[in-house]
């Protein structure tokens, strides 16, 4: 069973239980935070100890351990650590839900890590649901009218989505005869070209599953939940939703398509073209809808929908091209760049929202005079999301777009570049409010040390990975090695 290869996940599950026990018996808030941070760091150390191991079948084939899975483990653990540190002040608003907040955040991270390692239908379903159900409860945690409304919306739409996903998985299981992605790949690769209509059940299942994943990563037309939920949720949870939950969706989308449905080539070309079209629609709709927003969390929700569109370019490139490794490396680079920038922007909102009544952009007027550190971090994050050199977002866009051009997706790249220009309008609107407009009050914004440290880490990441991209690229090229497993299997 070699379950010891899942030790980071097991450690995280134990930590979640310990956090609840600590909260129950000691009622000491700082202790709960420290316990969860220590658990995340121990889990991180265990993930480091997994580097170099390569196992096709963990836990009777439910999971796989390759560089791709380990890369995502690092990413999720890192982001979860930053989210917990950034919310040390914010959690005081949750009154007596301190322990539950941390425990559920840990189980959501656990679900995301398992999602990235799953290679079996059952494991995929369970790990996706673990993340989703933890997040339903977290979104409702503020217990005010906006938070509970967004929780009901997220829950009802998310539950419909899991029913669709389950139905798709049932069909794929029934028509391919196995729950393991490797066995499904064998059945699918034996489909004769031109004979795809004979496997209508399988293709219908694939479409339903793609719809299920599209909901997780919030692409058009499955994006309607995102702005409402992002606006109503507690801000640390908004950060978690837009980074960990979305990246987990991408990790399983890529593994599912590349392992299960990359052969025959006519099939992978088909889903590549479909995803390219969806990506064009997604980024255009996201950017245009963001232009008219007044609430900063809602604006960032639409911006993150548009960013999903850019990420889908990389996935579409994988379907159309035959050279998967560099395309998936570009996706990993973009996901990491996006996550770092989102951490910077949302941490500023978390700190500032203590002093602002709601999250209107107008409330951020004159932030530069109230707190230069917050203003600088926000500006760096937004410029990186916009894709301005020499920041990390620019390198990410360059990497993804250059891959797409090499695989005959020039039309998509042109649409994406036009979209980047549109997105500059609303990003610059926030930046102008911060630096040019006069502040409503002159009092400084204070915060404790931990959120400031998160800001410094995120800014350092944005600058360092932007100026010296080779550091991150060597990591993503190492992490992009996911397809090798299936070739070994066929041999």
């Amino acid at each position: 069973m070699n379950l010891d290869l899942l030790r980071p996940e097991i450690c995280l599950a134990v930590t979640a239980i310990v956090v609840i026990a600590v909260d129950l018996f000691f009622r000491h808030k700082l202790l709960v935070t420290i316990t969860s941070i220590v658990g995340l760091l121990v889990s991180f150390g265990m993930a480091i100890s997994l580097i170099g191991s390569h196992e096709l079948s963990v836990g009777n084939g439910l999971f796989i351990l390759d560089n791709y899975a380990i890369y995502f483990k690092f990413l999720f653990l890192g982001i979860a650590c930053l989210v917990i540190l950034a919310s040390t002040d914010y959690v005081k608003r949750l009154q007596n839900l301190h322990g539950e907040f941390h425990a559920l955040l840990l189980t959501a991270t656990l679900g995301a890590m398992l999602t990235a390692t799953a290679q079996d239908i059952i494991a995929m379903l369970l790990s996706i649901e673990l993340t989703a159900i933890s997040l339903y409860a977290l979104v409702a945690m503020l217990k005010n009218s906006k938070s509970s409304e967004s929780a009901v919306k997220y829950l009802l739409l998310g539950a419909v989505n899991s029913a669709i996903l389950l139905f798709g998985l049932a069909l794929v299981f029934g028509f391919s005869g196995s729950t393991s992605l490797l066995d499904i790949a064998q059945t699918v690769s034996s489909i004769q070209v031109g004979n795809i209509a004979d496997n209508a059940g399988l293709i219908f299942g694939l479409v339903l599953i793609l719809a299920g994943f599209a909901f997780k990563i919030a692409v058009v037309p499955f994006h309607m939940w995102a702005p409402d939920v992002y606006e109503g949720a507690p801000t640390p949870i908004t950060l978690f939703l837009s980074t960990v939950s979305k990246i987990a969706g991408f990790s399983i989308l890529v593994r599912f398509l590349l392992t299960g449905f990359s052969l025959p080539e006519s099939l992978s070309n088909n889903w590549g073209v479909i995803l390219a079209v969806v990506s064009a629609i997604t980024m255009t709709a996201g950017n245009l809808l963001a232009l008219t927003q007044h609430n900063i969390k809602r604006l960032l929700a639409y911006s993150s929908i548009a960013q999903s569109g850019y990420m889908l370019i990389a996935v579409a490139t994988m379907g159309i091209g035959s050279f998967h490794t560099i395309s998936s490396s570009s996706l990993l680079y973009y996901l990491t760049a996006f996550a770092v920038a989102e951490v910077a922007v949302f941490t500023v909102i978390i700190i500032a929202s203590k002093h602002k009544d709601n999250d209107d952009i107008a409330d951020y007027a004159g932030l530069a005079k109230q707190s230069p550190l917050l203003a600088c971090a926000m500006t760096l994050g937004l410029l990186s999301l916009m894709g301005l050199p020499p920041l990390v977002g620019f390198m990410g866009k360059l990497y993804v777009f250059s891959q797409a051009v090499q695989h005959d997706l020039l039309w998509l790249v042109i649409i994406a570049v036009v979209n980047s220009v549109i997105s500059a309008c609303y990003y610059l609107k926030i930046i102008r409010a911060i630096w040019v407009d006069a502040p409503a009050s002159a009092d400084n914004i204070r915060s404790s040390f931990a959120p400031k440290a998160v800001l410094l880490i995120a800014c350092a990441g944005i600058l360092l990975f932007g100026i010296l991209p080779s550091i991150l690229i060597s990591g993503t090229e190492w992490g992009a090695d996911l397809i090798s497993g299936i070739w070994e299997f066929f041999r």
Binding site: I121, I122, L125, L126, E129, I133, Y136, A137, A140, K143, N144, S145, K146, S148, E149, S150, A151, V152, K153, L155, L156, A159, V160, S162, A163, I164, L166, F167, L169, A170, L171, F173, G174, G177, S178, T179, G201, P227, D228, E231, G232, L289
Partner: protein, 100 residues
Amino acid sequence: MDIGLTHYLVLSVLLFGVGLYGVLSRRNAVVILMCIELMLNAANLTLVAFSRYIFFYGQAIVIFSLVIAAAEVSVGLATIITFYRQRKNIDIKNINLLKW
């Protein structure tokens, strides 16, 4: 007439459609949750039918999906209760604070 796999698949697609229609047309949040259960059970029926006629171990997935459905409903009812405490009803036409 022999009842075969196709009949079960058609039945489960119909059940799924009835559930989806209910989700889209009902106003009461708890009724919507019940319709979602119908959709999940349609998927379960597909799995059981496949395991009866072709692959034996489809039944195992049904156990997992039942557990997921139970967890989802318990969190769902709790969420609907917090919503009820804010608005004093669970009619989703009152979900109108957040839009566009």
